[in-house]
Amino acid sequence: MTEFPPRVDPHFDIEEYDPEADLMALNMGPQHPSTHGVMRIKLFLDGETIVKAVPYPGYLHRGVEKLCEKLTYVQITPIFDKHDYVAPMTNEQAINLAFEKLLGLEVPLRARVLRTILAELQRIASHLLWLGTFTLDIGGTIGGGASMMMYTFREREMILDLFEALTGCRFHYNTHCPGGNRHDVPEGWETVVKAVLDAIEPRFDEYEALCDNDIFLVRTEGIGVLPPDLALELGQTGPVLRASGVDHDLRRDAPYHAYDLVDVRVAVDDGCDSLARYKVRVAEMRESVRLVRLLLPMLPQGPIVGSKPIKSLIQFKAAAGQVYVGMETPRGELGTYLIGGGDQRGAAPYRCKIRPPSLHAMAALPYLLPGHFLSDVVTVLGSLDPIMGEVDR
Protein backbone atom coordinates (compact mmCIF):
# COMPACT_ATOMS: atom_id res chain seq x y z
CA MET A 1 0.00 0.00 0.00
CA THR A 2 1.49 3.25 -1.06
CA GLU A 3 1.58 6.21 1.27
CA PHE A 4 -0.41 9.16 0.06
CA PRO A 5 0.29 12.72 1.16
CA PRO A 6 -2.31 14.13 3.57
CA ARG A 7 -5.35 15.57 1.84
CA VAL A 8 -5.37 19.34 1.51
CA ASP A 9 -8.38 21.42 2.40
CA PRO A 10 -9.15 23.39 -0.76
CA HIS A 11 -11.42 25.79 1.11
CA PHE A 12 -9.08 26.95 3.84
CA ASP A 13 -9.02 30.69 4.46
CA ILE A 14 -5.91 32.22 3.00
CA GLU A 15 -6.05 34.93 5.71
CA GLU A 16 -5.18 32.28 8.26
CA TYR A 17 -1.93 31.43 6.51
CA ASP A 18 1.34 32.38 8.18
CA PRO A 19 1.27 36.25 8.31
CA GLU A 20 5.06 36.36 8.07
CA ALA A 21 5.05 34.63 4.70
CA ASP A 22 5.55 36.59 1.51
CA LEU A 23 2.28 35.60 -0.13
CA MET A 24 1.52 36.46 -3.71
CA ALA A 25 -1.76 36.00 -5.59
CA LEU A 26 -1.22 35.14 -9.21
CA ASN A 27 -3.78 34.70 -11.93
CA MET A 28 -2.91 32.01 -14.39
CA GLY A 29 -5.00 32.52 -17.48
CA PRO A 30 -7.57 33.18 -18.85
CA GLN A 31 -5.31 33.34 -21.88
CA HIS A 32 -2.55 30.97 -20.93
CA PRO A 33 -1.30 28.71 -23.70
CA SER A 34 -1.40 25.60 -21.54
CA THR A 35 -4.95 25.86 -20.20
CA HIS A 36 -6.48 24.03 -23.19
CA GLY A 37 -9.03 26.73 -23.72
CA VAL A 38 -9.78 29.73 -21.61
CA MET A 39 -9.71 29.14 -17.89
CA ARG A 40 -8.37 31.11 -14.98
CA ILE A 41 -6.71 29.61 -11.92
CA LYS A 42 -6.10 31.92 -9.02
CA LEU A 43 -2.93 30.79 -7.30
CA PHE A 44 -1.66 31.87 -3.91
CA LEU A 45 2.09 31.46 -3.87
CA ASP A 46 4.50 31.34 -1.01
CA GLY A 47 7.70 31.91 -2.88
CA GLU A 48 7.53 29.34 -5.63
CA THR A 49 5.21 26.95 -3.77
CA ILE A 50 1.48 26.93 -4.26
CA VAL A 51 -0.53 27.35 -1.08
CA LYS A 52 -4.01 27.50 -2.48
CA ALA A 53 -5.51 27.19 -5.94
CA VAL A 54 -8.97 28.28 -7.05
CA PRO A 55 -10.05 27.47 -10.61
CA TYR A 56 -12.54 29.80 -12.29
CA PRO A 57 -14.19 28.18 -15.28
CA GLY A 58 -16.90 29.88 -17.32
CA TYR A 59 -15.04 31.82 -19.97
CA LEU A 60 -16.23 29.54 -22.74
CA HIS A 61 -19.88 29.23 -21.82
CA ARG A 62 -22.01 28.98 -24.93
CA GLY A 63 -25.31 27.86 -23.47
CA VAL A 64 -25.50 24.48 -25.16
CA GLU A 65 -27.99 23.13 -22.62
CA LYS A 66 -30.32 26.08 -23.09
CA LEU A 67 -29.96 25.85 -26.84
CA CYS A 68 -31.05 22.22 -26.70
CA GLU A 69 -34.41 23.33 -25.32
CA LYS A 70 -35.01 25.44 -28.38
CA LEU A 71 -33.80 23.10 -31.11
CA THR A 72 -35.46 19.88 -32.16
CA TYR A 73 -33.95 16.41 -31.86
CA VAL A 74 -32.82 16.56 -35.46
CA GLN A 75 -30.94 19.82 -34.99
CA ILE A 76 -29.17 19.08 -31.73
CA THR A 77 -26.57 16.61 -33.02
CA PRO A 78 -24.47 19.19 -34.93
CA ILE A 79 -24.58 21.51 -31.90
CA PHE A 80 -23.24 18.74 -29.67
CA ASP A 81 -20.15 18.46 -31.82
CA LYS A 82 -19.01 21.71 -30.37
CA HIS A 83 -18.72 21.21 -26.67
CA ASP A 84 -15.78 18.84 -26.53
CA TYR A 85 -13.94 20.11 -29.55
CA VAL A 86 -11.21 17.49 -29.32
CA ALA A 87 -13.51 14.48 -29.59
CA PRO A 88 -16.66 15.56 -31.48
CA MET A 89 -17.45 12.06 -32.68
CA THR A 90 -18.08 10.66 -29.22
CA ASN A 91 -20.16 13.71 -28.24
CA GLU A 92 -22.52 13.06 -31.11
CA GLN A 93 -22.79 9.44 -30.14
CA ALA A 94 -23.57 10.32 -26.54
CA ILE A 95 -26.53 12.55 -27.39
CA ASN A 96 -27.81 10.15 -30.02
CA LEU A 97 -27.66 7.25 -27.57
CA ALA A 98 -29.86 9.34 -25.28
CA PHE A 99 -32.27 10.15 -28.12
CA GLU A 100 -32.51 6.52 -29.10
CA LYS A 101 -33.28 5.47 -25.57
CA LEU A 102 -35.89 8.21 -25.18
CA LEU A 103 -37.52 7.64 -28.55
CA GLY A 104 -37.20 3.86 -28.40
CA LEU A 105 -35.32 3.54 -31.68
CA GLU A 106 -33.44 0.42 -32.77
CA VAL A 107 -29.95 0.87 -34.14
CA PRO A 108 -28.95 -1.66 -36.81
CA LEU A 109 -25.85 -3.74 -36.17
CA ARG A 110 -23.87 -2.14 -38.99
CA ALA A 111 -24.34 1.31 -37.50
CA ARG A 112 -23.44 0.02 -34.05
CA VAL A 113 -20.18 -1.54 -35.20
CA LEU A 114 -19.37 1.54 -37.27
CA ARG A 115 -19.99 3.76 -34.26
CA THR A 116 -17.67 1.63 -32.16
CA ILE A 117 -14.92 1.90 -34.76
CA LEU A 118 -15.39 5.67 -34.98
CA ALA A 119 -15.36 6.03 -31.21
CA GLU A 120 -12.09 4.11 -30.92
CA LEU A 121 -10.47 6.05 -33.75
CA GLN A 122 -11.60 9.24 -32.06
CA ARG A 123 -10.05 8.05 -28.82
CA ILE A 124 -6.70 7.60 -30.55
CA ALA A 125 -6.96 11.03 -32.18
CA SER A 126 -7.93 12.70 -28.93
CA HIS A 127 -5.19 11.04 -26.90
CA LEU A 128 -2.65 11.92 -29.59
CA LEU A 129 -3.62 15.57 -29.35
CA TRP A 130 -3.37 15.31 -25.59
CA LEU A 131 0.07 13.72 -25.75
CA GLY A 132 1.39 16.37 -28.12
CA THR A 133 0.13 19.30 -26.09
CA PHE A 134 1.08 17.68 -22.76
CA THR A 135 4.70 17.24 -23.74
CA LEU A 136 4.67 20.71 -25.25
CA ASP A 137 3.35 22.10 -21.98
CA ILE A 138 5.82 20.41 -19.70
CA GLY A 139 8.80 21.50 -21.51
CA GLY A 140 10.89 22.71 -24.26
CA THR A 141 13.16 20.20 -22.54
CA ILE A 142 11.73 17.04 -24.04
CA GLY A 143 13.29 16.83 -27.42
CA GLY A 144 12.51 20.46 -27.94
CA GLY A 145 8.93 19.91 -26.85
CA ALA A 146 7.49 20.98 -30.15
CA SER A 147 8.87 18.02 -32.08
CA MET A 148 6.74 15.61 -30.06
CA MET A 149 3.71 17.67 -30.96
CA MET A 150 4.64 17.52 -34.64
CA TYR A 151 4.88 13.74 -34.44
CA THR A 152 1.53 13.26 -32.71
CA PHE A 153 -0.24 15.75 -34.95
CA ARG A 154 1.05 13.93 -37.99
CA GLU A 155 -0.59 10.72 -36.78
CA ARG A 156 -3.73 12.52 -35.76
CA GLU A 157 -3.94 14.02 -39.22
CA MET A 158 -4.12 10.50 -40.67
CA ILE A 159 -7.15 9.73 -38.53
CA LEU A 160 -8.81 13.01 -39.41
CA ASP A 161 -8.27 12.11 -43.07
CA LEU A 162 -10.16 8.88 -42.41
CA PHE A 163 -13.02 10.86 -40.91
CA GLU A 164 -12.92 13.25 -43.85
CA ALA A 165 -13.22 10.38 -46.29
CA LEU A 166 -16.21 9.03 -44.38
CA THR A 167 -18.13 12.15 -43.41
CA GLY A 168 -16.75 14.97 -45.53
CA CYS A 169 -15.54 16.98 -42.58
CA ARG A 170 -12.36 16.96 -40.61
CA PHE A 171 -14.20 18.06 -37.50
CA HIS A 172 -17.80 18.67 -36.47
CA TYR A 173 -18.98 15.80 -38.57
CA ASN A 174 -22.71 15.54 -37.93
CA THR A 175 -22.50 11.95 -39.06
CA HIS A 176 -24.93 10.46 -36.53
CA CYS A 177 -28.66 10.80 -36.41
CA PRO A 178 -31.27 9.33 -34.07
CA GLY A 179 -31.42 5.68 -35.08
CA GLY A 180 -28.14 5.30 -36.90
CA ASN A 181 -25.45 6.94 -38.96
CA ARG A 182 -25.88 9.38 -41.80
CA HIS A 183 -22.84 8.41 -43.83
CA ASP A 184 -22.09 4.91 -44.98
CA VAL A 185 -18.55 3.63 -45.35
CA PRO A 186 -17.07 4.63 -48.72
CA GLU A 187 -15.49 1.99 -50.89
CA GLY A 188 -12.06 0.86 -49.77
CA TRP A 189 -12.27 2.69 -46.45
CA GLU A 190 -11.48 -0.41 -44.42
CA THR A 191 -8.18 -0.95 -46.22
CA VAL A 192 -7.17 2.65 -45.58
CA VAL A 193 -8.04 2.25 -41.89
CA LYS A 194 -5.86 -0.84 -41.67
CA ALA A 195 -2.99 0.96 -43.40
CA VAL A 196 -3.29 3.92 -41.01
CA LEU A 197 -3.31 1.61 -37.97
CA ASP A 198 -0.22 -0.16 -39.30
CA ALA A 199 1.49 3.18 -39.66
CA ILE A 200 0.49 4.45 -36.25
CA GLU A 201 1.11 1.40 -34.08
CA PRO A 202 4.92 1.25 -34.25
CA ARG A 203 5.04 4.93 -33.27
CA PHE A 204 3.61 4.13 -29.83
CA ASP A 205 6.98 2.59 -28.98
CA GLU A 206 8.55 5.97 -29.59
CA TYR A 207 6.03 7.63 -27.30
CA GLU A 208 6.63 5.06 -24.60
CA ALA A 209 10.36 5.71 -24.81
CA LEU A 210 9.56 8.92 -22.92
CA CYS A 211 9.12 6.73 -19.85
CA ASP A 212 12.84 6.39 -19.41
CA ASN A 213 13.70 9.99 -20.08
CA ASP A 214 14.93 11.53 -16.85
CA ILE A 215 13.61 14.99 -17.61
CA PHE A 216 10.16 13.65 -18.32
CA LEU A 217 10.18 11.48 -15.20
CA VAL A 218 11.27 14.30 -12.94
CA ARG A 219 8.54 16.50 -14.31
CA THR A 220 5.75 13.93 -13.93
CA GLU A 221 6.59 11.31 -11.30
CA GLY A 222 4.92 12.04 -7.97
CA ILE A 223 3.34 15.23 -9.35
CA GLY A 224 -0.37 15.64 -8.79
CA VAL A 225 -1.02 12.50 -6.76
CA LEU A 226 -4.72 11.70 -6.76
CA PRO A 227 -5.52 8.89 -4.29
CA PRO A 228 -8.27 6.47 -5.36
CA ASP A 229 -10.66 7.44 -2.55
CA LEU A 230 -10.41 11.13 -3.43
CA ALA A 231 -10.79 10.33 -7.13
CA LEU A 232 -14.02 8.48 -6.44
CA GLU A 233 -15.25 11.22 -4.13
CA LEU A 234 -14.69 13.87 -6.79
CA GLY A 235 -16.51 11.84 -9.40
CA GLN A 236 -13.52 11.28 -11.65
CA THR A 237 -13.98 9.00 -14.61
CA GLY A 238 -11.99 7.80 -17.54
CA PRO A 239 -8.19 7.75 -17.66
CA VAL A 240 -7.91 9.95 -14.56
CA LEU A 241 -9.80 7.43 -12.47
CA ARG A 242 -8.07 4.43 -13.99
CA ALA A 243 -4.67 6.00 -13.36
CA SER A 244 -5.68 6.14 -9.68
CA GLY A 245 -6.00 2.39 -9.66
CA VAL A 246 -9.79 2.09 -9.93
CA ASP A 247 -10.76 -0.45 -12.54
CA HIS A 248 -13.81 1.16 -14.10
CA ASP A 249 -14.65 1.48 -17.75
CA LEU A 250 -18.15 1.81 -19.15
CA ARG A 251 -17.08 0.11 -22.36
CA ARG A 252 -16.67 -3.10 -20.42
CA ASP A 253 -18.94 -2.55 -17.41
CA ALA A 254 -22.03 -1.24 -19.18
CA PRO A 255 -21.50 -1.96 -22.87
CA TYR A 256 -23.20 0.24 -25.43
CA HIS A 257 -22.72 0.28 -29.24
CA ALA A 258 -21.07 -3.01 -30.16
CA TYR A 259 -18.70 -3.27 -27.21
CA ASP A 260 -20.45 -6.43 -26.09
CA LEU A 261 -19.07 -8.15 -29.19
CA VAL A 262 -15.46 -7.58 -28.21
CA ASP A 263 -13.47 -8.06 -25.07
CA VAL A 264 -12.19 -4.68 -23.90
CA ARG A 265 -8.95 -4.80 -21.94
CA VAL A 266 -8.97 -1.87 -19.56
CA ALA A 267 -5.68 -0.16 -18.81
CA VAL A 268 -5.25 0.52 -15.11
CA ASP A 269 -2.27 1.93 -13.28
CA ASP A 270 -1.97 2.54 -9.57
CA GLY A 271 0.71 5.19 -9.74
CA CYS A 272 -1.95 7.88 -9.13
CA ASP A 273 0.37 10.62 -10.43
CA SER A 274 0.79 12.43 -13.74
CA LEU A 275 3.08 9.71 -15.04
CA ALA A 276 0.40 7.09 -14.41
CA ARG A 277 -2.14 9.14 -16.32
CA TYR A 278 0.28 9.34 -19.22
CA LYS A 279 0.86 5.59 -19.11
CA VAL A 280 -2.86 4.81 -19.03
CA ARG A 281 -3.55 7.01 -22.03
CA VAL A 282 -0.78 5.49 -24.13
CA ALA A 283 -1.97 1.99 -23.17
CA GLU A 284 -5.50 3.00 -24.15
CA MET A 285 -4.32 4.05 -27.58
CA ARG A 286 -2.78 0.62 -28.09
CA GLU A 287 -5.99 -1.00 -26.93
CA SER A 288 -8.03 1.16 -29.31
CA VAL A 289 -5.87 0.05 -32.22
CA ARG A 290 -6.48 -3.56 -31.23
CA LEU A 291 -10.24 -2.99 -30.95
CA VAL A 292 -10.50 -1.32 -34.35
CA ARG A 293 -8.54 -4.22 -35.88
CA LEU A 294 -10.97 -6.66 -34.26
CA LEU A 295 -14.08 -4.76 -35.27
CA LEU A 296 -13.27 -3.97 -38.89
CA PRO A 297 -13.91 -7.49 -40.21
CA MET A 298 -17.08 -7.63 -38.08
CA LEU A 299 -18.70 -4.76 -40.00
CA PRO A 300 -21.81 -6.49 -41.37
CA GLN A 301 -23.78 -5.61 -44.48
CA GLY A 302 -27.12 -3.95 -44.03
CA PRO A 303 -28.81 -0.63 -43.40
CA ILE A 304 -27.12 2.06 -41.35
CA VAL A 305 -30.28 3.80 -40.16
CA GLY A 306 -32.92 1.99 -38.16
CA SER A 307 -35.58 4.67 -38.41
CA LYS A 308 -36.43 6.81 -41.42
CA PRO A 309 -33.60 9.14 -42.51
CA ILE A 310 -33.94 12.77 -41.49
CA LYS A 311 -36.30 14.55 -43.83
CA SER A 312 -38.07 17.08 -41.68
CA LEU A 313 -37.60 19.21 -38.65
CA ILE A 314 -40.19 17.54 -36.45
CA GLN A 315 -39.55 13.98 -37.50
CA PHE A 316 -38.90 12.58 -34.03
CA LYS A 317 -41.43 13.20 -31.30
CA ALA A 318 -40.88 11.90 -27.81
CA ALA A 319 -43.36 11.55 -25.02
CA ALA A 320 -42.49 13.03 -21.68
CA GLY A 321 -39.99 10.75 -20.04
CA GLN A 322 -36.50 10.93 -18.77
CA VAL A 323 -33.37 9.02 -19.58
CA TYR A 324 -29.76 9.08 -18.51
CA VAL A 325 -27.12 7.59 -20.76
CA GLY A 326 -23.47 7.38 -19.85
CA MET A 327 -20.80 6.83 -22.40
CA GLU A 328 -17.04 6.44 -22.19
CA THR A 329 -15.51 9.25 -24.20
CA PRO A 330 -11.73 9.71 -24.37
CA ARG A 331 -11.98 11.89 -21.27
CA GLY A 332 -14.31 9.73 -19.21
CA GLU A 333 -17.99 9.28 -18.65
CA LEU A 334 -20.00 11.75 -20.68
CA GLY A 335 -23.49 11.55 -19.24
CA THR A 336 -26.54 12.92 -20.98
CA TYR A 337 -29.72 13.42 -19.02
CA LEU A 338 -32.68 14.14 -21.20
CA ILE A 339 -36.31 14.93 -20.46
CA GLY A 340 -38.65 14.43 -23.38
CA GLY A 341 -40.76 17.32 -24.57
CA GLY A 342 -44.13 15.68 -24.15
CA ASP A 343 -47.15 17.05 -25.94
CA GLN A 344 -46.47 20.75 -25.64
CA ARG A 345 -42.90 20.82 -26.86
CA GLY A 346 -43.31 18.13 -29.49
CA ALA A 347 -40.04 17.49 -31.23
CA ALA A 348 -37.82 19.44 -28.83
CA PRO A 349 -36.59 18.13 -25.49
CA TYR A 350 -37.78 19.77 -22.31
CA ARG A 351 -34.37 19.70 -20.68
CA CYS A 352 -30.96 18.40 -21.53
CA LYS A 353 -28.24 18.13 -18.93
CA ILE A 354 -24.71 17.22 -19.79
CA ARG A 355 -22.36 15.65 -17.28
CA PRO A 356 -18.95 16.42 -18.71
CA PRO A 357 -15.97 14.39 -17.48
CA SER A 358 -13.69 17.42 -17.81
CA LEU A 359 -15.63 19.42 -15.24
CA HIS A 360 -14.97 16.73 -12.67
CA ALA A 361 -11.31 16.57 -13.64
CA MET A 362 -11.13 20.32 -13.02
CA ALA A 363 -12.59 19.80 -9.57
CA ALA A 364 -9.45 17.91 -8.60
CA LEU A 365 -7.17 20.91 -9.20
CA PRO A 366 -7.58 22.58 -5.76
CA TYR A 367 -6.63 19.26 -4.14
CA LEU A 368 -3.69 18.48 -6.38
CA LEU A 369 -1.91 21.79 -6.77
CA PRO A 370 -1.05 22.93 -3.19
CA GLY A 371 2.46 21.95 -2.24
CA HIS A 372 3.73 21.88 -5.79
CA PHE A 373 5.83 24.43 -7.62
CA LEU A 374 4.35 26.91 -10.01
CA SER A 375 5.87 25.09 -12.96
CA ASP A 376 3.99 21.92 -11.99
CA VAL A 377 0.63 23.56 -12.59
CA VAL A 378 0.82 22.89 -16.30
CA THR A 379 1.86 19.28 -15.66
CA VAL A 380 -1.10 18.61 -13.39
CA LEU A 381 -3.53 20.49 -15.60
CA GLY A 382 -2.21 18.78 -18.71
CA SER A 383 -2.35 15.31 -17.19
CA LEU A 384 -5.99 15.77 -16.18
CA ASP A 385 -6.75 16.76 -19.79
CA PRO A 386 -9.78 18.96 -19.25
CA ILE A 387 -11.26 20.54 -22.36
CA MET A 388 -12.65 23.93 -21.49
CA GLY A 389 -15.36 23.80 -24.12
CA GLU A 390 -16.73 20.80 -22.30
CA VAL A 391 -16.32 22.24 -18.83
CA ASP A 392 -18.35 25.33 -19.64
CA ARG A 393 -20.53 23.97 -22.44
Partner: protein
Amino acid sequence: MSSRVGLNWIWQSAKAMIVTGKHLFEPRTTEGLRPAESRAPRYRASFALVHNEHGEEACIGCKLCEKICPSDVITVVGGPKELSEATGKKRGTCTDFVLDLQACIICELCVQVCPVDAILMVREQEVPGYSREDLVLTMDKLYANEHDKALYWGSGSALMEMQNPKKEASS
Protein backbone atom coordinates in the same frame (compact mmCIF):
# COMPACT_ATOMS: atom_id res chain seq x y z
CA MET B 1 13.23 14.11 -6.49
CA SER B 2 16.18 14.33 -8.86
CA SER B 3 18.05 11.45 -7.30
CA ARG B 4 18.67 10.00 -10.74
CA VAL B 5 22.28 10.90 -11.35
CA GLY B 6 24.91 9.11 -13.33
CA LEU B 7 25.77 8.71 -16.92
CA ASN B 8 22.28 7.55 -17.81
CA TRP B 9 21.60 10.79 -19.62
CA ILE B 10 24.04 9.90 -22.40
CA TRP B 11 22.00 6.88 -23.38
CA GLN B 12 18.78 8.84 -23.03
CA SER B 13 19.96 11.67 -25.23
CA ALA B 14 21.23 9.18 -27.77
CA LYS B 15 17.84 7.51 -27.81
CA ALA B 16 16.11 10.82 -28.39
CA MET B 17 18.51 11.63 -31.19
CA ILE B 18 17.89 8.24 -32.80
CA VAL B 19 14.16 8.98 -32.94
CA THR B 20 14.82 12.45 -34.29
CA GLY B 21 17.32 11.17 -36.81
CA LYS B 22 14.90 8.56 -38.10
CA HIS B 23 12.31 11.20 -38.79
CA LEU B 24 14.80 13.32 -40.67
CA PHE B 25 14.41 11.07 -43.69
CA GLU B 26 10.64 10.82 -43.63
CA PRO B 27 8.34 12.95 -45.72
CA ARG B 28 7.46 16.40 -44.52
CA THR B 29 4.93 16.63 -41.71
CA THR B 30 3.47 20.00 -42.48
CA GLU B 31 1.49 20.79 -45.56
CA GLY B 32 -0.11 23.99 -46.72
CA LEU B 33 -3.80 24.41 -47.37
CA ARG B 34 -4.57 21.52 -49.63
CA PRO B 35 -6.26 22.16 -52.97
CA ALA B 36 -9.77 20.81 -53.43
CA GLU B 37 -8.69 18.11 -55.88
CA SER B 38 -6.57 16.31 -53.30
CA ARG B 39 -9.39 16.29 -50.77
CA ALA B 40 -11.61 13.31 -50.13
CA PRO B 41 -14.54 13.13 -52.58
CA ARG B 42 -16.99 13.77 -49.76
CA TYR B 43 -15.20 16.86 -48.52
CA ARG B 44 -17.76 19.59 -47.96
CA ALA B 45 -17.10 23.24 -47.38
CA SER B 46 -19.24 25.84 -49.12
CA PHE B 47 -22.50 25.93 -51.03
CA ALA B 48 -23.96 26.19 -54.50
CA LEU B 49 -27.47 26.37 -55.89
CA VAL B 50 -27.95 24.38 -59.06
CA HIS B 51 -30.19 24.22 -62.10
CA ASN B 52 -32.27 21.15 -62.80
CA GLU B 53 -32.11 18.99 -65.90
CA HIS B 54 -34.47 21.34 -67.79
CA GLY B 55 -32.18 24.29 -67.22
CA GLU B 56 -34.48 25.94 -64.69
CA GLU B 57 -33.37 27.10 -61.30
CA ALA B 58 -34.01 23.98 -59.27
CA CYS B 59 -35.08 25.62 -56.00
CA ILE B 60 -38.85 25.65 -55.53
CA GLY B 61 -38.81 27.94 -52.52
CA CYS B 62 -40.24 25.35 -50.14
CA LYS B 63 -38.26 26.73 -47.17
CA LEU B 64 -37.48 23.29 -45.75
CA CYS B 65 -33.79 24.15 -45.57
CA GLU B 66 -34.57 27.44 -43.85
CA LYS B 67 -36.56 25.63 -41.19
CA ILE B 68 -34.09 22.87 -40.43
CA CYS B 69 -30.96 25.03 -40.26
CA PRO B 70 -29.78 24.86 -36.60
CA SER B 71 -28.06 28.25 -36.85
CA ASP B 72 -30.83 30.03 -38.74
CA VAL B 73 -28.53 31.29 -41.44
CA ILE B 74 -30.67 30.60 -44.51
CA THR B 75 -33.30 33.05 -45.71
CA VAL B 76 -35.55 31.98 -48.56
CA VAL B 77 -38.08 34.27 -50.22
CA GLY B 78 -40.56 32.25 -52.21
CA GLY B 79 -41.92 33.57 -55.48
CA PRO B 80 -45.24 33.02 -57.25
CA LYS B 81 -46.00 29.67 -58.82
CA GLU B 82 -45.04 29.54 -62.45
CA LEU B 83 -45.80 27.22 -65.29
CA SER B 84 -42.72 25.22 -66.16
CA GLU B 85 -42.11 25.22 -69.90
CA ALA B 86 -40.26 21.94 -69.88
CA THR B 87 -42.74 19.83 -67.95
CA GLY B 88 -45.92 21.84 -68.36
CA LYS B 89 -46.59 21.65 -64.63
CA LYS B 90 -46.86 24.43 -62.10
CA ARG B 91 -43.91 24.76 -59.79
CA GLY B 92 -42.83 27.10 -57.03
CA THR B 93 -40.03 29.56 -57.52
CA CYS B 94 -37.60 31.34 -55.33
CA THR B 95 -36.94 35.04 -55.68
CA ASP B 96 -34.21 35.45 -53.11
CA PHE B 97 -31.93 33.07 -51.28
CA VAL B 98 -29.30 34.20 -48.79
CA LEU B 99 -26.96 31.90 -46.87
CA ASP B 100 -24.77 33.53 -44.26
CA LEU B 101 -21.61 31.45 -44.06
CA GLN B 102 -20.38 33.24 -40.95
CA ALA B 103 -22.54 31.17 -38.63
CA CYS B 104 -22.99 28.08 -40.78
CA ILE B 105 -21.73 24.95 -39.05
CA ILE B 106 -21.47 22.86 -42.25
CA CYS B 107 -23.88 20.29 -40.86
CA GLU B 108 -25.25 19.22 -44.24
CA LEU B 109 -28.85 19.13 -42.96
CA CYS B 110 -30.07 21.68 -45.51
CA VAL B 111 -28.68 19.52 -48.30
CA GLN B 112 -30.25 16.43 -46.85
CA VAL B 113 -33.79 17.83 -46.58
CA CYS B 114 -33.99 19.55 -49.96
CA PRO B 115 -36.66 17.68 -51.92
CA VAL B 116 -35.40 18.70 -55.36
CA ASP B 117 -31.60 18.59 -54.83
CA ALA B 118 -31.38 22.33 -55.38
CA ILE B 119 -28.76 23.13 -52.77
CA LEU B 120 -25.46 21.27 -52.86
CA MET B 121 -22.12 21.68 -51.22
CA VAL B 122 -18.89 22.45 -52.98
CA ARG B 123 -15.48 21.08 -52.18
CA GLU B 124 -13.63 24.34 -52.25
CA GLN B 125 -13.15 26.06 -48.97
CA GLU B 126 -14.46 29.57 -48.63
CA VAL B 127 -11.52 31.98 -48.41
CA PRO B 128 -11.53 34.74 -45.83
CA GLY B 129 -13.08 38.01 -46.94
CA TYR B 130 -12.24 41.63 -46.27
CA SER B 131 -15.70 42.49 -45.03
CA ARG B 132 -18.61 40.61 -43.54
CA GLU B 133 -20.54 40.88 -46.79
CA ASP B 134 -17.87 38.78 -48.50
CA LEU B 135 -18.95 35.81 -46.42
CA VAL B 136 -22.67 36.17 -47.08
CA LEU B 137 -23.60 34.00 -50.02
CA THR B 138 -26.30 35.74 -52.00
CA MET B 139 -28.33 34.04 -54.69
CA ASP B 140 -26.02 35.30 -57.44
CA LYS B 141 -22.94 33.98 -55.69
CA LEU B 142 -24.59 30.64 -55.03
CA TYR B 143 -25.55 30.19 -58.68
CA ALA B 144 -22.08 31.28 -59.76
CA ASN B 145 -20.60 28.61 -57.50
CA GLU B 146 -22.40 25.96 -59.52
CA HIS B 147 -19.98 26.56 -62.40
CA ASP B 148 -16.95 28.04 -60.67
CA LYS B 149 -16.37 25.48 -57.96
CA ALA B 150 -16.14 21.72 -57.73
CA LEU B 151 -19.46 20.26 -56.57
CA TYR B 152 -19.22 17.43 -54.09
CA TRP B 153 -20.51 13.91 -54.58
CA GLY B 154 -23.78 14.16 -52.73
CA SER B 155 -27.19 15.72 -52.85
CA GLY B 156 -30.39 15.30 -50.90
CA SER B 157 -31.41 12.21 -52.83
CA ALA B 158 -27.90 10.72 -52.79
CA LEU B 159 -27.84 11.00 -49.00
CA MET B 160 -31.28 9.41 -48.78
CA GLU B 161 -30.14 6.65 -51.06
CA MET B 162 -27.16 5.99 -48.82
CA GLN B 163 -29.19 5.94 -45.64
CA ASN B 164 -32.24 4.09 -46.90
CA PRO B 165 -31.29 1.73 -49.71
CA LYS B 166 -34.33 -0.48 -49.08
CA LYS B 167 -36.36 1.17 -51.84
CA GLU B 168 -33.91 -0.07 -54.44
CA ALA B 169 -34.37 -3.66 -53.35
CA SER B 170 -38.16 -3.52 -53.47
CA SER B 171 -38.42 -1.92 -56.92
